[in-house]
């Protein structure tokens, strides 16, 4: 039995709800840290950034599922919905912290969305995720049939917008957001051509 086979067998025994449970934990942890000084003297921005960065990492994990299966034979398909829904959850929490704790001023929220390109881009990414999260259930998959797959290609522009949002908001020339964007684009590029698939042994 190869390592991949063993890994896949192990993954088969892990129920998806376990992943929800694990991925939900950082949210209360960050909040607790923010409230008790663990995020430094400016916890609002720190919390906002921590949630946004984790959402981006989850989005990348979601994009990695298909290439991992095709190129390495590791099957994480049954976890993809959990990854997607939790990505949305963290994007939503990130947005909530921005609205309620950071900007605070109602009139300024809309002004920021239309006037500040990096916020426009981030909001666009969020809006693209709404139909995705609304159809992330078995009923929608059955009902939409082949259109479901088409609709869920919205994931690609949504994640790109998330990566661009990060690149646009930093000051000066910074490496980290560029690495995120490069990883996102690479994972998408792997889908461009019909790459050689692993044949079942």
């Amino acid at each position: 039995m190869t390592l991949v086979d063993r890994l896949n067998r192990l993954l088969r025994s892990v129920p998806p709800w376990a992943l929800y449970l694990v991925l939900v934990l950082p949210a209360p942890w960050y909040l607790y840290q923010g409230a008790t000084g663990g995020l430094g003297v400016e916890p609002i921005k720190a919390l906002e950034h921590a949630l946004g960065e984790f959402a981006l990492q989850l989005a990348i994990a979601g994009l990695a599922v298909t290439p991992l299966r095709r190129l390495a034979g590791v099957n994480l398909l049954k976890f993809r919905r959990a990854i997607g829904i939790m990505t949305f959850t963290y994007v939503f929490l990130h947005l909530l912290v921005w609205l309620v704790l950071d900007v605070q001023i109602l009139g300024q929220i809309w002004a920021d969305i239309v006037k500040r390109p990096y916020i426009t881009v981030g909001m666009a990414g969020f809006v693209l995720m709404l139909p995705l999260v609304a159809t992330s259930n078995n009923w929608s998959v059955r009902r939409l049939g082949p259109r479901w797959r088409k609709l869920h290609r919205l994931t690609y522009p949504a994640v790109i917008l998330g990566g661009v949002h990060y690149v646009m908001l930093v000051k000066g020339f910074q490496i980290e957001p560029l690495i995120y964007l490069a990883v996102i684009l690479s994972l998408l590029a792997l889908r461009l051509r019909s790459l050689p698939r692993l044949r079942p042994a």
Binding site: P43, K45, L47, I105, D112, Y118, K171, F173
Partner: protein, 311 residues
């Protein structure tokens, strides 16, 4: 001798802790019912009026830990806590400043020799970062004007250029081209000579921590924080407007003047309000003041200038 600035914010202005804590109780009470408003007005009546207009907390200097743990000093990393973790690598002794250009007595001046000829005083200044957060910092330092007088400025000089130390082996953040190192800044000569403009060598009566720009930094309280260049090794008097680091990195975002101005937004965010560090997870935003509250002292420097064009 420069026209000295009279500090309106002194230790005696700082509300004594028991009264301050008590005042918080009154304010907390206010939140519970409108009926207490009269009582609140009474309790606050004794506070100096000018600063009250902005924010009744404005007179409270930030804690040492806040000032020294939340820093922008990209030579040590771009995260706010990178400087406090990495800046210990910087050697600050011995230290000298090269003063050159249009001066009568150019040369390398040992820091100790400069400081021994200066009057060190405490200045409690508001500090407003371009990122829309702020602090109140009790600096120790001397007026830049006194240093300029010491070296003698030639009449044709119009600007002062500053340069931060650049030592890649001691500054891990400089491995990345976040900015074009070394960090450089500049002021117009009249701005440099303004009595508010401070060369700071310490805070809270202690030597300047490395992450805050040891051993000597500039403090220009009516401008965004990045103008207040840290760990200065060179001061050059010139007749041309000197290049400044952030302006080189983003000419459309950071101007040469960079005066605090709530009416001129940064292209990527509003400058109309700010959040004072230290308010925790539910800190409220407060309106940003023109020239960071130093309008009386500096507005005349910019008479007739279009502050939107010269941002």
């Amino acid at each position: 001798m420069a026209k000295r600035w009279t500090n309106k914010l002194t230790r005696s202005d700082v509300t004594p802790e028991p009264i301050f804590m008590n005042r918080r109780k009154v304010l907390a009470g206010l939140g519970l019912g409108g009926g207490a408003a009269g009582l609140g007005g009474l309790a606050l009546g004794g506070m100096p009026g000018a600063a009250m207009a902005q924010d009744d907390m404005a007179l409270e200097p930030n804690a040492w830990d806040e000032i020294t743990s939340y820093c922008n000093y990209y030579e040590f990393g771009t995260r706010k806590d990178d400087p406090s973790q990495n800046a210990h690598l910087l050697t600050t002794e011995p230290w000298s400043i090269t003063i050159d250009g249009l001066v009568d007595k150019p040369g390398d001046y040992a820091l100790g020799d400069i400081v021994s000829q200066m009057t060190i005083e405490e200045r409690i200044y508001r500090f407003r970062c371009v990122e829309a957060w702020s602090m109140v910092v009790p600096w120790n330092g001397f007026e830049l004007a006194d240093l300029l007088d010491m070296v003698g400025v030639k009449p044709e000089a119009q600007y002062v250029a500053f340069e931060t130390v650049y030592r890649p082996e001691e500054m891990p953040g400089t491995r990345y081209p976040v900015l074009d190192w070394p960090y450089v800044e500049g002021l117009r000569l009249d701005e440099a000579r303004n009595p508010l403009t401070l060369m700071a060598t310490g805070l809270y009566g202690k030597p300047m921590p490395n992450q805050n720009g040891a051993p000597i930094r500039l403090v220009v309280p009516w401008k965004y924080g990045f103008k207040s260049i840290k760990s200065i090794v060179r001061i050059t008097l010139t007749d041309k407007q000197p290049p400044t680091s952030w302006n080189k990195a983003g000419p459309g975002e950071y101007g040469f003047y960079s005066n605090v101005n709530p009416e001129v937004d940064h292209p990527r965010w509003s400058q109309a309000s700010e959040r004072k560090i230290g308010g925790g997870l539910f800190a409220k935003k407060v309106p940003t003041l023109m020239f960071n509250g130093y309008e009386d002292e500096v507005a005349a420097l910019y008479d007739g200038m279009d502050l939107k064009a010269n941002f």
